[in-house]
């Protein structure tokens, strides 16, 4: 009978698989870590495929290669976006990750670290000192639970509220100083925009369930409202609190009154002028270009805070060194080279993104005087919070997002209940190792 044959096939499969598993789990020969650290030679690196970053990356690599002909660097682009973590994770498992990835998301670092895929920068004699000297106090947020740095904080995109000046004018709002500082003001302005027909939506954050979407609706406002608290602190979820609920109720109102749509816009709603505002960092400026006359303000808080005290989400992307790297000595030197004062300046110049460096407003004063638009972001960059560096970080964000979409975006469950459930789950996840 056929089922016997199916059973036979299944057993055969299992047998092959088990023997293979026993072989693979034993671990195939450890790499000589200490040897690799001293080694110098060719390295390869990955860049994101953001065109401006690629331009910067290529120039940086060329400069290095000219100066170091025996330690040549090859750079490849990997697609940015939600798939880059999968690519890196798969590469770690297969043992073919590059030496450096100039697009390592802080949220993915705990996972890569757990896999044994990252090299602790502290293992280099000047590692810790370099990171702390360059970034200053905010560097602490990037330490792993064991106190070491498995990533170098590279650049941030402090999230602010962009608004379309023309749409504001059309709605009868002061385009130079739109009232957007408190929740009440923000709601009133939004209502005016939509009811006057100046735009289809006041603001259009993506209402979808990917784990990272909360970084662009809930988290920036939460950072501002709490004056700089992370989602998880000391192993406990913090968002099931008065502040968390205030932020959520604000967004709930936006969705309930149809000021923000519950459906994803397939392209960029701000660039296409369907939304009057957007909540994003300075990398978007080159996307908007001349399409939109924009202004930027910090994210709102319930009672209103001055710009110089408002916090936000950093949307940082960092550089990590991967354990598959054979010539870690060169990789470390390259890491320092690519984050030197000159290279950080070139990055700022070419991409408009803020290097995670102390006092950029003064160090690059020339740039900011010729690009006054960006000055706001430089100021904001001093007050950003990062995603918490805890185990199961991605699962934590997914859990949070699921509770958030159900209660805040679609209003299907009461916020109090949803947040209590998510908060318990998140605390449990953060406690696993």
């Amino acid at each position: 009978m056929k089922s016997n044959k199916v059973a036979a096939a299944a057993v055969l499969t299992l047998a092959i698989g088990t023997t293979a598993a026993c072989g693979s789990s034993g671990g195939s020969g450890g790499s000589d870590a200490s040897g690799a650290q001293a080694a110098h030679g060719p390295v390869n690196v990955w860049l994101s495929n953001n065109p401006e970053e690629v331009a910067w990356g290529k120039a940086m690599v060329e400069a290095w290669n000219t100066a170091h002909p025996t330690e040549l660097v090859t750079a490849q682009e990997i697609p940015a976006g939600k798939t880059s973590e999968e690519v890196i994770g798969a590469a770690i498992t297969a043992g073919n990750a590059p030496c450096l990835v100039f697009n390592t998301a802080p949220a993915a670092v705990p996972q890569f670290q757990k896999q044994g895929g990252l090299v602790a920068l502290d293992s280099f004699p000047d590692g810790k000192a370099y990171v702390e000297a360059r970034t200053g106090a905010p560097a602490d947020q990037y330490k792993s639970p064991d106190g070491k740095f498995y990533q170098l904080p590279w650049k941030s995109n402090p999230v602010m509220i962009f608004y379309n000046k023309d749409i504001m004018t059309k709605a009868g709002i002061d385009a130079e100083n739109p009232p957007l500082a408190t929740y009440d003001e923000f709601l009133a302005t939004s209502k005016k925009i939509v009811s006057s027909g100046a735009a289809q939506a006041a603001i259009w954050p993506a209402p979808t369930s990917e784990f990272f979407q909360s970084w662009f609706d809930f988290y920036p406002l939460y950072a501002a409202e709490t004056g700089g608290k992370q989602l998880v602190e000391d192993g406990k979820a913090t968002f099931d609190s008065e502040e968390g609920k205030r932020v959520s109720n604000f967004w709930r109102t936006m969705y309930a009154e149809k000021l923000a749509p519950q459906e994803k816009y397939p392209a960029d709603s701000f660039a296409d002028k369907k939304a009057a505002m957007s909540i994003v960092g300075p990398w978007a400026i080159s996307v908007y270009g001349d399409k939109v006359k924009w202004g930027a303000v910090p994210v709102p808080t319930s009672a209103g805070t001055t710009a110089d005290k408002t916090y936000t989400f950093s949307d940082a992307k960092n550089i990590a060194m991967y354990s598959a790297c054979k010539n870690q000595g060169t990789a470390w030197d390259l890491l320092k080279f690519s984050t030197s004062k000159d290279q950080d300046g070139a990055l700022l110049d070419k991409t408009g993104q803020m290097p995670l460096r102390k006092d950029i407003a003064t160090v690059y004063a020339d740039y900011f005087s010729s690009h006054p638009d960006y000055k706001k972001f430089a100021d904001q960059a001093a007050r950003t919070i990062e995603v918490p560096n805890v185990p199961n970080s991605i699962a934590i964000w997914q859990t949070f997002r699921d509770g958030y979409t159900s209660s805040v975006i679609f209003g299907k469950t009461p916020i109090d209940d949803a947040f209590k459930t998510s908060s318990d789950k998140v605390t449990a996840l953060a406690g696993q190792s």
Binding site: K5, I78, A94, G95, A267, D272
Partner: protein
Amino acid sequence: MGFLLLGAFVFLFPFYYMVIGSLQKTPDTSIAGAIPTHGLTLDNYSQINERVDLARSLVNSGIFTGGVILFTVVFGVLAGYALARLHFRGRSTLFALMLLVMMVPFQLLIIPLYVMVVRSYGLADSYMGMILPFAINSTAVFVFRQFFLSLPEDLFAAARIDGAGELRILWSIALPLVRPALVTAALLTFIGPWNEFLWPFLITKDQDLQPLAVSLANYISNIAGRAANPFGAILAGAVVLAAPAVALFVAFQKHFTSSELGSGVKG
């Protein structure tokens, strides 16, 4: 007949809309926009060409798909024949394994497969690495098997009585007859690798090796947003991805007829 035409219209409408949308200068979602009278432009397409090396990607897709079709046709025909006409130990188990394989979702296997192909076989960033998991298409083997089953038993019995060895029978009788099934199987096999995104995406970092599906999917999700008309750019990317498959199909569709697959559903 009218019913058929209505159905055809409904089926084709999204494609029509895709093409129209890709030619628009500014996105127009209204009903009137479906029948445009002005404002059509090829800009969206030229923008793709600036960012994606279409020719190179097409070649890569061709090599990837061609390799799969080659392996499938060569080894699949042999396996299909053996499963249909020859009695050997392990035949039913192999058949059951084939069916089991068709039921398992690729996402369950993808990381172990990736590790195996890259670590154990060292095939990262290579055409062979792309081809390997798809090398012999089980559906095609199934088609070949059913085809050989449908051939009259007399043909083989007579040859055996005449004293022909099995290899001889395979070479002189079975293979010459299999031609119609070959085209069907080739067309069926083509669709998979041509449209496959996830596997080549993981396996190749070198952009020179990436097939069309990966380059365009990448363009659609990451780069089209920068274009002057992002919507149009996305749709243009989609049209470019779909066009070769449709063109090939239209060219060969007369082979994709009922008689070749008829053997697949005999009672």
